[in-house]
């Protein structure tokens, strides 16, 4: 064991990480007060790409606001659109055909895998291994091609409609998805063999960046960050929505709370998402994907509504305050990365800077979602 670190506040200097830095994966700045290689204090500065999505909501109708949702988290945009349509459907009491809900769940889970694949590649690249990124992007490309064929876009989807979908999936999509599931299972085995059990990766991650349950509670961390700290919280399970109760899947939870635990949670989540997609394709009912009649202009009854869904990075919540008009009186987006990143300031104190960047990668940041 090495000697405990004694920090000397009078011998510190300021180090600026970002706003343009490869390890921050976007425009994020961390002002670190350093004592040599060790972090004495850190202050995260965000807001560089703040676009005021919440004000935009007040100037648009509910339908016009739909494209904004996929511009928050550009890696798992589908889940955000899902949360929004669920919120409006709940408040306006719009029935959704079963087939549409199944297709929503399938596409959301595919998008979750593609998001985790980007994280996997970029995270391992942060730690110095370049080639996994290439493999991960190759697999992700299969998903993007499949989703592009149905939704019409590769990243910023606007596929869901209030009460249904933009269009139905065809046989090509179903066959292609089944082929992809096979391929992805093989790739995951390879990733585990090449990366998970790699001793360099383990040494960089095990015991680094511990996040306690108390820290999660005080900062409101959700998603893989909470599940890596032994908190069995997943909105899909705790607060079932859509057709998720129909599926048999596990929520991976690890108790260590270190970066490796978060790594393992996400790797296993990809397997579970594959299970959901497979079951969804097996159970996919026939029928229409849009309701027979739905109101032309959506107006929500006056009141205040909250809806949460499990996005790629944690619990994404939408609060809509309506005054009965055709655009929201107030719309609040609760983004998971915002809370997950906030705990970084406190958790990274006393850490080596190289470890802190590994820790930051394990939080899986998407900056546009944080800045909104």
């Amino acid at each position: 064991m090495s000697e405990p670190i004694v920090l000397q506040p009078d011998e510190t200097f300021i180090l600026n990480v970002g706003p343009q830095h490869p390890a921050t994966h976007g425009v994020l700045r961390v002002k670190m007060t350093m004592d040599g290689e060790f972090i004495y204090n850190a202050e995260t500065v965000i807001g560089y790409i703040h676009r005021m999505h919440e004000k935009m909501a007040e100037n648009r109708t509910y339908a016009q606001y739909m494209p904004n949702l996929s511009r928050l988290d550009y890696l798992s945009a589908m889940a955000y659109c899902h949360g929004y349509v669920l919120a409006v459907e709940k408040a306006a009491s719009i029935e959704v055909p079963e087939r549409a809900e199944y297709i929503r769940a399938i596409t959301v889970e595919m998008n979750r895998i593609s998001s985790h694949l980007v994280w996997f590649g970029a995270f391992v690249m942060d730690l110095g291994g370049f080639s996994p990124l290439m493999y991960a992007f190759d697999d992700r490309e299969q998903i993007l091609d499949l989703l592009e064929a149905v939704t019409g876009s590769r990243l910023t989807y606007c596929y869901f409609r209030f009460g249904g979908l933009y269009n139905d999936v065809d046989d090509d999509f179903i066959e292609g998805t089944r082929r992809f599931i096979k391929r992805m299972r093989k790739s995951l085995k390879m990733y585990h063999k090449l990366v998970t059990t790699n001793v360099i990766l383990m040494k960089r991650l095990i015991g680094i960046g511990p996040v306690s349950v108390d820290l999660c509670q005080r900062y409101g961390a959700t998603g893989p960050v909470a599940r890596g700290s032994g908190i069995n919280y997943d909105v899909r399970r705790n607060e079932p929505y859509s057709v998720y109760p129909e599926f048999d899947f596990d929520i991976p939870v690890y108790n260590e709370g270190d970066s490796f635990a978060r790594y393992k949670v996400r790797m296993e989540e990809m397997e579970q998402s594959l299970r959901i997609i497979e079951q969804g394709l097996d159970k996919l009912p026939d029928g229409p994907v849009n309701p027979e009649k739905k109101p032309k202009t959506i107006k929500l009854p006056a009141g205040d509504y909250y809806t949460a869904v499990e996005a790629g990075r944690g619990s994404f919540g939408i609060r809509i305050v309506s005054d009965g008009d055709k655009s929201p009186y107030r719309l609040k987006l609760r983004s998971p990365t915002y809370s997950n990143m906030h705990l970084f300031d406190e958790a990274c104190r006393g850490m080596l800077i190289a470890d802190a960047l590994a820790f930051m990668g394990s939080l899986d940041l998407v900056i546009p979602e944080m800045d909104r």
Partner: protein, 168 residues
């Protein structure tokens, strides 16, 4: 059930309000009506939360303290500008990590002309960014906040874009 325990504890904050719980109190009344004070049951299926706690600013810290002690985590803090009432409302969302599902919304109102609320960063450290954001967007001053500088807006911003009378 945690909801019963918390409800009783929260009701203790309102000595005078011994009236029975009103279910779905908002459904009939328009949202802009004069804010009443108390703990209200809500239909989860319709609203997405179980309890709606409306309180005066000086009760905020004790209510939030009760929620912290019962293992709630903070989801978000935000504001709503009720310009017709001349009031700003701060909305605090809380939820739980376990399967005893309970979502609680705490709201409090402050005059629009001089919006001051106590900070809850002493209880939930994660409230810091949420309060800074609410300060950016609505100009609500969270008294006692250790670092109330703009978070999402530029550092020299002197406007509050989510106020209803904001003109770009």
């Amino acid at each position: 059930m945690i909801i019963e325990t918390v409800k009783d504890k929260l009701r203790d904050l309102f000595p005078a309000a011994a009236e029975p719980a009103v279910t779905e109190h908002q459904a009939e009344k328009p949202e802009t009506a004069e804010a009443e004070i108390g703990v209200f049951d809500c239909s989860y299926a319709k609203r997405g939360y179980h309890l709606d706690v409306r309180l005066a600013p000086d009760q905020l810290l004790s209510a939030v303290g009760i929620l912290f002690d019962h293992g709630f985590f903070i989801e978000s803090i935000t504001g709503v500008d009720w310009i017709k009432d001349g009031q700003l409302e701060a909305v605090y969302d809380f939820c739980r990590y376990d399967f005893d599902l309970c979502r609680i919304v705490v709201r409090t109102r402050t005059p629009r002309a001089n919006p001051i609320l106590p900070t809850i960063t002493g209880i939930y450290s994660g409230a810091s960014w949420h309060e800074r954001e609410t300060h950016d967007f609505f100009g609500i001053v969270f008294e006692g906040h250790p670092h109330l500088i703009p978070l999402l807006l530029p550092e020299d911003a002197d406007f509050h874009p989510l106020l209803k009378d904001f003109k770009a």
